[in-house]
């Protein structure tokens, strides 16, 4: 089962998402962890995981 939860892998995925690459981000409610998936990932994801890619991709408010 795909479960790339290493914080450094999450960091890389966030950067890739910001740069409009095809990485995906999921949230696992059972563990509270974020899960990164690269475009070539073929292993199945935990069925309870919920997608979080779009929330990362849409960005955050630029304050100031």
């Amino acid at each position: 089962m795909a479960s790339n939860q290493d914080p450094k892998e999450i960091s890389k995925a966030l950067v890739n998402i910001r740069e409009q690459e095809d990485d995906e981000l999921y949230f696992d409610p059972k563990t509270g962890k974020l899960v990164a998936r690269s475009p070539n990932e073929i292993a199945p994801l935990d069925s309870d995981s919920v997608p979080a890619t779009e929330m990362a991709r849409e960005g955050f408010f630029r304050a100031g």
Partner: protein, 144 residues
């Protein structure tokens, strides 16, 4: 949908997806808001407070109430005021940093608190990346 019904639905959604999260004072009280603790992938815990006095008409504020946050150099983030490169608005009087999540122009009454908390979760992961590397948070999370 009236506000009470909306808040009940929001509470149900939060409880289903974020363990320990709830809307306090749901039945009435002076401190209506979301409370809960998130655990990052490195197992650090952060408590959030999202007051709901202006929800859903406006984007609610979101504060990290515990622990008090420093930047990667150990300087308190609450002293640094508004920082667009860290996606932070002004901290409150209790030194709780405020995450800027949705811009008003991107907010609608349909946005759920689930999405707000999820943004907080993502921000915290980016914050820890900042602590490890010194890169500002907007290196990891783009701007709207």
């Amino acid at each position: 949908m009236d506000l009470a019904r909306r808040l009940q639905l929001e509470d149900n959604l939060l409880r289903r997806h974020f363990y320990g999260f709830r809307i306090q004072d749901l039945q009435g009280g002076p401190n209506l808001g979301v409370v809960g603790t998130l655990t990052t992938n490195s197992a650090r815990r952060y408590s959030l407070w999202i007051p709901l006095e202006r929800f859903p008409g406006q984007a609610p504020r979101m504060y990290v109430v515990s622990p008090l946050l420093n930047d990667h150099k150990g300087n308190p983030l609450w002293e640094q005021g508004v920082r667009s490169d860290m996606h932070l608005l002004s901290a409150n009087e209790h030194r709780h940093v405020q995450i800027c999540h949705y811009q008003d122009s991107h907010w609608s009454i349909d946005v759920t608190l689930y999405k707000v908390v999820m943004k907080g979760r993502i921000w915290l992961e980016a914050y820890e990346s900042h602590l490890r590397t010194g890169n500002t948070i907007d290196y990891y999370l783009g701007h709207m």
